[in-house]
């Protein structure tokens, strides 16, 4: 894959990728973008091994998820719960800001796999099969993670 083609593919996937990582990082936009950049470098280095057996976006999201997991492993000792929601959409009503705050706080409390499954299914509209491929787990496990994630979010978010 040439650099130009890679860039054009990334240009298309940039927003979904950053949104996925933003959800995983519970609203920390700077951290999400850092991980996204690392993921892009990793993907670019490995682009020669991309055989096109899956969609480019599935492959890229998988690399991004692995980067996020690596970051979590490194940062675990310092990890503190999110005290305030970050990256709230500017110029929105306080009601909407409050909902985002609730969402990010709730996402931050979820286990990584549940959070990733929820983000991919609800925010990126990915199918169970794609999520299974991105998170490298059987489809049944994805459904279980989604179900558990929903249950947990129901407890954390006051509707």
């Amino acid at each position: 894959m040439t650099q130009e083609r890679f860039i054009s593919e990334v240009r298309q996937q940039q927003e979904p990728l950053r949104r996925f990582l933003l959800a995983l990082c519970a609203g920390d936009g700077a951290l999400a973008d850092d991980i996204a950049q690392d993921a892009l470098v990793r993907a670019y280095v490995a682009s020669g091994s991309f055989l096109g057996l899956s969609k480019f976006s599935t492959w890229l999201f998988r690399i991004a998820y692995n980067c996020y997991i690596d970051h979590c492993r490194k940062a675990r000792p310092e990890k503190a719960p999110v005290e305030e929601a970050r990256n709230l959409p500017g110029g929105d009503s306080s009601d909407k800001s409050f909902r985002y705050q609730q969402l990010y706080l709730a996402l931050d409390r979820l286990p990584e796999k549940e959070k990733a499954a929820i983000a991919l299914f609800y925010f990126e509209d990915r199918s169970i099969k794609e999520i299974s491929s991105i998170l490298d787990m059987p489809q049944g496990t994805v459904k279980y993670q989604l179900s558990m994630g929903r249950q947990h979010l129901k407890q954390y978010i006051q509707l």
Binding site: Q3, F6, I7, V10, R11, Q14, E15, R18, R19, L22, A23, G27, G29, D33, A36, Q37, L40, V41, Y44, V45, N87, P89, G90, K96, R99, Y100, L103, Y104, I118, Y122, F123, R150, L153, K154, I157, L159
Partner: protein, 119 residues
């Protein structure tokens, strides 16, 4: 349960517009290309050095074998002759022996304690 699903679908995280994101990605890719080129250069240099060493070794081996076959020598007598020559040399010049030893020690000390150059 549907209410939480609706909540999630209605409140997708919103990514802030960042025109520098792709530029930064491109900058990093250029750096990766630079590293790749340097690694390739080092690899090709290593390959050339290996081929030269192999050819050199082969040539020396062929030359040594040819010499051995063309000019056969009596190994025992020549070894005794060499030992005798060394013994005579040591007897004649033993007062100068500490000098090369000291030189060697100083050279080793300079080489081992030399700071690596900052790159």
């Amino acid at each position: 349960m549907s209410s939480i699903e609706d909540f999630l679908r209605e409140n997708k995280p919103q990514v802030k517009e960042d025109p520098t994101f792709i530029l930064e990605a491109q900058r990093r890719m250029v750096q990766v290309e630079g590293i790749k080129a340097e690694v390739d250069r080092q690899r090709s240099r290593g390959r050339v050095a290996l081929i030269i060493a192999l050819c050199g070794g082969l040539a020396i081996g062929v030359f040594a074998t040819a010499i051995t076959f063309l000019y056969p020598i009596d190994a025992q007598s020549s070894a005794e002759g060499l030992l005798r020559a060394v013994r005579l040399f040591l007897q004649d010049y033993r007062q100068y022996l500490p000098m090369p030893v000291a030189l060697l020690a100083i050279t080793l000390a300079v080489v081992l304690f030399k700071r690596p150059a900052r790159i």
